[in-house]
């Protein structure tokens, strides 16, 4: 009778807890075990359990001591009491002696059993579920949602303010602003007359799909229009979090490096459009735009690249045309 353990890869874990489990929660474990089996079957993980029982136990005992070490450390920090128990247990386990009751050997073994529970679930599953809800909502209202990402200072807010000002009177628009702190950006957006909602992420380095759902309740979904989501200035973390947007738009300014797409490939790989900003500064810089574009295409061969300057207005027509084309797709969908 052994716990369900898949194979060699889990043997360390088995031994690690083998000593400790009985100590701390002897009573709990008795109960827990009964429940455990009921559940396992309900969830259709019969395979895992059936197999596991045969394999695991032999392995479990081999490495017991190594794991004791690991555990002691973990508990040193967290709970002084656990530590006391560890010692009791070492003795108890070998002698099978319990102060109050004699523990049947079979039960003792049963308590030590490990089972394998198949999970096979995506770590971002929860975020992706919210993102799917957002995406459906955008599709139902014919809304184009764009997720603007860049390092801090690439010009996301400035581009947005100019874009909202230039496109005002056309399609309805709304903005969700993400920043660690302050409502400065949303204030700048609202000054254009477009509704904006500021999300302060606090210690979080990115927006997630759930935050967008909340903000939508406030700012509303612009029907047959455009929702701009300005993400936290960060070229790493926002790349992995789907917000339900139609496309990520990554901004990279010419005062950064041509190799930025290679240094931060995840973000450039995730983007549908690369906007090279502040191109009015090019005469003053030794910046090779073609090299930047080539690097962006190495990471993302399908990405479109546009050069813009919010200050001079250069290239903004192309940006607006890109938005309009995506809007038509969103409305048609």
């Amino acid at each position: 009778m052994c716990g369900v353990c898949g194979c060699g890869t889990t043997k360390e874990g088995v031994s690690a807890h083998g000593h400790e489990a009985p100590h701390a929660h002897a009573h709990d474990h008795d109960h827990a075990h009964d429940h455990a089996h009921d559940h396992a079957h309900d969830h259709a993980h019969d395979h895992a359990h059936d197999h596991a029982h045969d394999h695991a136990h032999d392995h479990a005992h081999d490495h017991a001591h190594d794991h004791d070490h690991a555990h002691d450390h973990a508990h040193d920090h967290a709970h002084a009491h656990d530590h006391d128990h560890d010692h009791d247990h070492d003795h108890g386990a070998t002698g099978h002696a319990s102060p109050s009751a004699r523990v049947d050997a079979g039960q003792e073994r049963a308590r030590r059993e490990a089972r394998l529970v198949k999970v096979e679930r995506d770590i971002l599953e929860k975020n992706d579920r919210f993102a799917a809800v957002n995406r459906r909502r955008f599709a139902d209202s014919g809304t184009l949602a764009l997720n603007l990402v860049s390092s801090p200072g690439a010009g996301k807010t400035t581009l947005l303010v100019r874009t909202l000002t230039d496109l005002k009177g056309g399609r309805p628009m709304a903005v969700i602003e993400g920043d660690q702190q302050t409502s400065l950006d949303a204030d700048r957006i609202r000054a254009t007359g477009v509704p904006a909602r500021q999300i302060n992420t606090g210690k979080m380095c990115h927006l997630d799909a759930d935050m967008i759902s909340d903000a939508l309740a406030d700012v509303g979904v612009p029907e047959h229009g455009v929702l701009f989501i300005e993400n936290v200035g960060n070229l790493v973390c926002p790349a992995g979090f789907d917000l339900g947007e139609a496309s990520k738009v990554v901004l990279v300014s010419v005062t950064e490096g041509e190799d930025k797409p290679l240094k931060y490939p995840d973000m450039f790989h995730a983007a549908g459009l690369v906007l090279v900003t502040k191109v009015d500064l090019l005469p003053h810089l030794d910046f090779d735009v073609a090299a930047l574009e080539a690097n962006a295409r190495k990471v993302n061969p399908r990405a479109e690249v546009l050069r813009v300057s919010t200050r001079s207005g250069e290239g903004l027509g192309g940006w607006y045309a890109w938005i309009e084309a995506r809007c038509r797709e969103a409305c048609a969908g």
Binding site: G3, T9, T10, H25, A36, H39, A40, A74
Partner: protein
């Protein structure tokens, strides 16, 4: 440090499995984090230890498998191995490849008692 958010998601998935008393303790959490996934495994381990405190997963060992990246090169018209975004196809030296595996972030299974 989006790894903290990911670590919390891992713990949430574990707690979801444990709901109703299915198990009272987790010994091992096995993850599959592709070589091209957007996460640093060491930061994830650190975050997991913190996020698991006070739960059935406290003290559980995180075992992280790293499946390699695999892609389809549209120039070569065949499957190729890739180690990172921005790398050229090992067959033709071009960049026209699409990732088909190696960016996953999954909880594979738990060893519980």
């Amino acid at each position: 440090m989006h790894e903290m958010a990911l670590a919390q998601s891992v713990v949430d998935l574990v707690l979801d499995q444990a709901s109703g008393g299915a198990f009272v303790r987790v010994r091992t959490v096995r993850l599959s984090i592709g070589a091209l996934a957007q996460v640093d495994p060491r930061s994830l381990e650190f975050g997991f230890d913190v996020a698991a405190r006070g739960t059935v997963a406290e003290g559980a060992e995180l075992v992280i498998e790293r499946p390699p990246g695999s892609a389809w090169c549209t120039d070569c018209n065949k499957a190729v191995a890739v180690a990172a975004h921005g790398e050229s196809c090992p067959g033709c030296g071009g960049y026209q490849w699409m990732l088909v595996g190696g960016d996953e972030m999954r909880v594979v299974d738990l060893e519980v008692e």
